[in-house]
Symmetry: C2
Subunit: 386 residues, 2 copies
């Protein structure tokens, strides 16, 4: 007789010399990253934004789909997509990052979705603000958490579940939070939550519940799997840990030159080279990016592109609010023959920055270790053709 134990094991750490397993590879094949050269785009082109889908992409009919708001509210309600589209419409440019970004580079490696450094993307999300809907429903004064339930269903560490995440009521009432039905000017794609998802600017991806069908107000902390078990910073399995919330600052370098197919190592010609990339933080605006071309021995200031003034929400036909989007930076470098290790680190207005020694927790969450890009600067042409 089959039971859940046949398919759903406990979490574990990889052994010291253990390679990536076929199970981890299967997750990587589905849940793809941003190809690093796509850091060139202000808004990530459709299909290049990172994906993290816990179970299967559900098959939902937009014409039949509804959202129910219930729990500790005076006036429970159910709205369909036409009803949501008839409400005020806002577009925001928001950078999303997976809470597990960088996990596969940790030692020891938590065995889960094996991200390297590229689980990020920036999109223009269009929808209607959540807060006015919650106010219309009439949140009870004793409300503590607001639970978002998706239509995706699966089992995880032995617990069968619809994907659900709770958000503190003070966060859920932020004016910036959207119930989004469009991405980059088109209806949401199936893999991004069609027909409806929540967008929580500044928070890691686990909060942006996709395939949203229910919002439930609780008078207590939500103790569902994704809040109480999965997304917590723990030192060891018995540690109750603390919740994963906002995005730690990170800068990524767009690797210069051209790659080797197999190793993705970079080849560059000597001479002037603009090293550039993007930087973001979910806590506060990025105020500084430093660049190293010698593996962290020395650091130099990069130039930050002017950010868009946080001018309030972008109303239809106006520019999208870019307060929560990544910012471009650049650094002029003269590449000399030899091997160089490039990196960048972001600092935000809250004083948070990126470590050069790995932070570690048992889930591999919120890890913003500096990315290293090794470049071989080769003066002569490599052999071309055969």
């Amino acid at each position: 007789m089959s039971t859940v134990d046949d398919v759903s094991g406990p979490s574990r750490l990889a052994e010291p010399e253990e390679g990536i397993s076929v199970e981890e590879l299967a997750l990587a094949a589905r849940n793809h990253a941003l190809p690093l050269e796509a850091l060139r785009y202000d808004v990530t082109p459709t299909g290049l934004h990172y994906l993290l889908i816990h179970y299967d992409i559900p098959d939902l009919d937009p014409a039949q789909h509804t959202l129910t708001i219930d729990g500790r509210v005076d006036r429970p309600m159910t709205v369909d997509l036409a009803g949501l589209r008839a409400r005020p419409r806002v577009t925001r440019r928001v950078t999303l990052e997976c809470a597990g970004n960088g996990r596969a580079l940790l030692t020891p490696r938590p065995v889960s979705q094996p991200w390297l450094t590229e689980a990020v993307g920036t999109a223009e999300w269009t929808g209607t603000p959540l807060a006015p809907l919650l106010r219309e429903a009439g949140i009870d004064p004793d409300a503590v958490d607001v639970v978002f339930t998706g239509a995706d269903h699966g089992v995880e560490r032995g617990v069968e579940q619809d994907y659900q995440r709770g958000l503190p009521v003070s966060e859920a009432l932020r004016e910036e939070i959207l119930l989004a039905y469009e991405m980059n000017g088109a209806p949401l794609l199936p893999q991004h939550g069609a027909p409806l998802r929540v967008v929580v600017p500044g928070w890691y991806g686990m909060a942006h519940v996709k395939w949203l069908r229910r919002i439930t107000v609780l008078d207590r902390e939500f103790d569902g799997y994704q809040n109480a078990v999965a997304y917590r910073l723990r030192a060891h399995p018995e540690d109750p840990g603390v919740p994963v919330t906002r995005i730690e600052p990170r800068a990524l370098v767009r690797p210069p030159g051209f790659p080797d197919f197999m190793s993705r190592a970079r080849v560059l010609r000597p001479g002037p080279c603009t090293v550039e990339g993007r930087a973001w933080s979910g806590f506060a605006p990025v105020t500084r990016v430093e660049v190293t071309t010698d593996g962290g021995a020395t650091w130099s200031e990069a130039t930050l592109d002017p950010g868009t003034v946080p001018a309030g929400s972008g109303v239809d036909g106006q520019a999208a609010d870019e307060r929560w989007a990544w910012r471009r930076w650049r650094y002029e470098w003269t590449a000399t023959p030899g091997r160089h290790t490039l990196g960048a680190r972001a600092t935000d207005a809250s004083g948070r920055t990126q470590p050069v020694e790995q932070p570690w927790n048992r889930g591999g969450f919120a890890n913003n270790l500096v990315q290293w890009v090794v470049v071989a600067v080769v003066p002569e042409d490599l052999p071309a053709g055969r």
Copy 2:
């Protein structure tokens, strides 16, 4: 001093117990597969189609982009996108599959892009037929191969190159081959070859050159890297091998039930279950799909959906020609409690079918071993919530 040897090593096979390397993982994170639940769609939604990009996605300006046709032709020509869009416009629904699909499941494992079974997708490609352009250019009677050159540049096994593939002139003149500038009714996305690629219905993906900028007619066989070195079926490194060409028949099962997050293993309730999926071949129409629910001990006939009559090319406003698209199949199963191993195998009108013992070659190409989907049929509810 750095040289190419620092970044570009020879091909190799993994050791017997060697896990997937970080290099292979980096390729998997970029070059994503079709999530298997997306087999439900006739046309793969944007962003879910598999990707295999040898180097970086180039940054091309559609307004400046041109295609040059030269070599052994009477009237060399250069056309821009407006010129190509002014020519006859055709839409075809075509299934593409990577030649390396299945590689990571081989023993021993060739170390390269580590595909499992899902490197496939189906799109509606719109463009103009290539053959009339070649006839206008006036191909010399001594023409042998037609070489397609992309704008993507990199190094591979020590050879610096723009991605180039040669196609026998008889294939290049097939009326079905398109110079495609749209995919699923929208301009090509950067990762699918924007602004121009070639689509060679029936052939593995390596022939569908993206970011196409030049077509050169040769009076000899093309001996560039991707034809003479990379995409060949070899028994050992010194074997000259034979070229990889058309897509071997394959059926994929859309895994029923719901998954475990980590293992992707399936859980299903007992009772009636429609097992379904897609099947395709680049040699001839699929004529038969058989299904097993006992790991290959017994096989039963699946029902094939009626295919679209190969009614010639789909002209603007008419249905796309579906001759080279996958075909849906289904099989009614009664799931009984316990562990079951599902699989399907396709047979085409040429008599080709799928093996249940692995075929093997040193590059891991054209491998169409039957896919196995393990399902735990569990009667009682698994524990829900905490």
